[in-house]
Amino acid sequence: MSNTVSPSSSFWKKNQQKLAPWLFLAPGILMFVIYVLVPIVQSIWISFHDWDGLGEKVWIGLGNYVELLDDDTFYVALKNNLIWLVLYLLSIPAGLAVALFLNQTVTGIRLYKSLFFFPFVISQVVVGLMFTWFYAPDFGLFSKLMEWVTGEQIAVLADERYVTYGIIVAGLWPQTAYCMILYLTGLNTINPEQVEAARMDGAKGFRLLWNIILPQLGPATFIAMVVTVIGSLRSFDLVSVMTAGGPYGSSQVLSYFMYEQALSEYGFRMGYGAAIAVVLFLIMMVFISLFIVRMLRQERSA
């Protein structure tokens, strides 16, 4: 009489503790597998083929990667990505500076804050267009200004020496706003007692900032760092809108190079594009792993 419970239900009872978390995770895991893991594996798989997206895939092993290593454009893109990475980090101190400046109580501060945050709200494409006009020879504000100062026009977006820097400046504008908002929320959580204590001990100005405020902003800095590094590596919209990689490919970055090879009018080399994507993915993985390791370590020590 006592053993009439069906075996499946007893299995459930026995393992409920173990199974429940997986059941709750299942929807998320499913999404992650379908939209993240499978495409990654597919990309890597495609990168070993010569494929135009229409015909048969031809297995060429590491052929795409060998070609990539011999491609001048790849090195231009890699170098530009490095410049992006380094200069884009400027948005962190810039964001901090703006946040400190705005972290006060005056009438209308909410309005000022939203005005400073504005560039992050508008689309990157719009930012790109605005800066294109800003730099435009003959009628752009910047060109006019340069002409007035130096007597000579500089067509930033047509000059291979300045073009990447010109685009990065455009990118820094919204990115600074993003870092600013991160720091503004961070500043809200600062312990006022510590600040007061430090002031009593005579700390002020830069020393107060460096020794008391910044350590408390650690989490904000961490997040700002992560989004900025990743953001710099996937810089695509601005390059696409402002120069399309030009003049003659000198403002190329990996993400745009990938798009151009795989998906643009002059490309449709899916295999080659996938190979570029894999390289970009590996570079990102270096940074992502660093961040994850750091995060895990913090969690463990906490």
């Binding site: 494929w51 047509a158 030009g246 003049p247 003659y248 002059y266």
Partner: protein
């Protein structure tokens, strides 16, 4: 590829569920999204339906840029009955992948080999015709008649005369040529014409078909001629920062006197404030004496996908599209030239000039980015742009192009 398989399955289930595929209906996909082409298309479809009351036409109009990638999807997944595309090497990938239907029978049945003679070579791959051309337009040098008159310049007919005219203009403070190379393709107009005039049509076609190395001395001669203009600063400064429309004001304001462009630019000149009597058109001057004169005439076409459901009526549509009266009416709206050589001459001055030039041409090039393979075209035009900014890099540019040619056309 599993993605495409599932797309195909999706398409299949869609056709099973819907009733779209009954006889007497054709679906046309095209990118006539600008106001004028859209109007021409609407008229064409209305007239076709009047002539063929038993056929219903369903028309999907796409955005111009989006169409270029969309066509790859719908050709493999859910093919319509007629699609708009371009002649020459631009259609080659679809022909080679077996996505376009052979329409040689439509050509022979309607005597089109004779009537569409000028476009026959660019519609032929492996001895078969793969589509129907309906419009093209000429390229050439548009110049300011009033400025030329002011400076006492007669329209140049030879390279030497062109150089002399440029020198005179430059001395008078007018930049001879305006151009905007940000989108790269305007540079290809220059390369094509210089190559056509220096080495001739056959050489140019062989080069764009990848049969001749870019390091060939004859290619270098082309760039040397080009360099004579570039090094003398006969092109406007900072052209790499602007699009072709942004280069028009230079011409309108009289800061520049000539513009090598397609005939579509005339409308923009007029919008900018130039009167018709201020604009002149001249054929690109002769360089190597005695070489048969070829021209640039990009051709727009319609094709039948091999996956079409109603090929019979689609062929009816193509035959209708090829007839002289239809081409005349459509091109009158488009402001372009009919391909059919039995149509009446157009009334517009520039079109009339173009019609005469093109019907006497030894051969018609489709433009570099349609004649050369897509990848080669992109790299080539980047090279042209670099040359126009830094002419001294020529050897490096040509070596790079040769490397790409060797890979693309292996």
């Amino acid at each position: 590829m599993t993605l495409f398989k599932s797309l195909r399955l999706l398409a299949l289930s869609a056709t099973l569920l819907s009733t779209a595929a009954f006889a007497g209906e054709i679906t046309i996909n095209s990118d006539h999204s600008d106001p004028v082409p859209k109007k021409a298309m609407e008229e064409l479809i209305a007239d076709f339906q009047k002539a063929n009351p038993d056929v219903t036409v369903k028309w999907n109009n796409f955005d111009h840029e989006g169409y270029k990638s969309a066509i790859r999807n719908f050709l493999t997944a859910d093919a319509p009955d007629v699609v708009a595309w371009y002649a020459g090497n631009r259609m080659a990938p679809f022909v080679k992948a077996g996505l376009f239907e052979d329409v040689t029978d439509v050509w022979t049945a309607n005597g089109l080999d004779e009537q569409l003679k000028s476009s026959a070579p660019s519609m032929t791959i492996d001895g078969k015709k793969w589509g129907m051309p309906y419009t093209y337009y000429q390229w050439g040098i548009y110049y300011r008649k009033d400025i030329f008159a002011e400076q006492g310049i007669t329209p140049p007919k030879t390279w030497a005369e062109l150089l002399a005219a440029s020198e005179k203009l430059k001395a008078a403070g007018v930049t001879p040529f305006t151009i905007g190379t940000k989108a790269l393709w305007p540079t290809a107009g220059w390369f094509d014409y210089l190559d056509l005039r220096v080495n001739g049509y056959e050489f140019h076609m062989d080069l764009t078909a990848g049969k001749i190395p870019y390091t060939d001395p004859r290619v270098k001669t082309v760039f040397e001629k080009w360099g004579e203009l570039v090094k003398a600063d006969y092109f406007i400064a900072n052209h790499a920062a602007i699009d072709w429309q942004d280069a028009v004001p230079q011409l309108v304001q009289g800061k520049a006197a000539m513009y090598l462009m397609g005939n579509f630019a005339v409308a923009t000149f007029k919008d900018g404030g130039l009167k018709e009597e201020q604009i002149g058109f001249l054929q690109f001057p002769e360089i190597t004496p005695g070489i048969p004169v070829a021209e640039e005439a990009p051709t727009d076409t319609f094709h039948i996908p091999s996956g079409a459901k109603n090929k019979e009526d689609a062929k009816k549509f193509l035959a209708y599209l090829a007839s002289p009266a239809v081409q005349a009416k459509m091109n009158a709206t488009l402001g372009q030239l009919p391909v059919n050589n039995t149509t009446q001459k157009p009334k517009d001055v520039f079109l009339d000039a173009g019609f005469t030039i093109l019907s006497n041409a030894h051969g018609l090039a489709q433009f570099y980015d349609r004649d050369a393979q897509a990848e080669m075209a992109k790299a080539g035009m980047e090279g042209f742009q670099e040359f126009m900014v830094k002419p001294d890099n020529l050897d490096r540019i040509l070596e790079r192009l040769e490397k790409i040619r060797a890979r693309v056309y292996k």
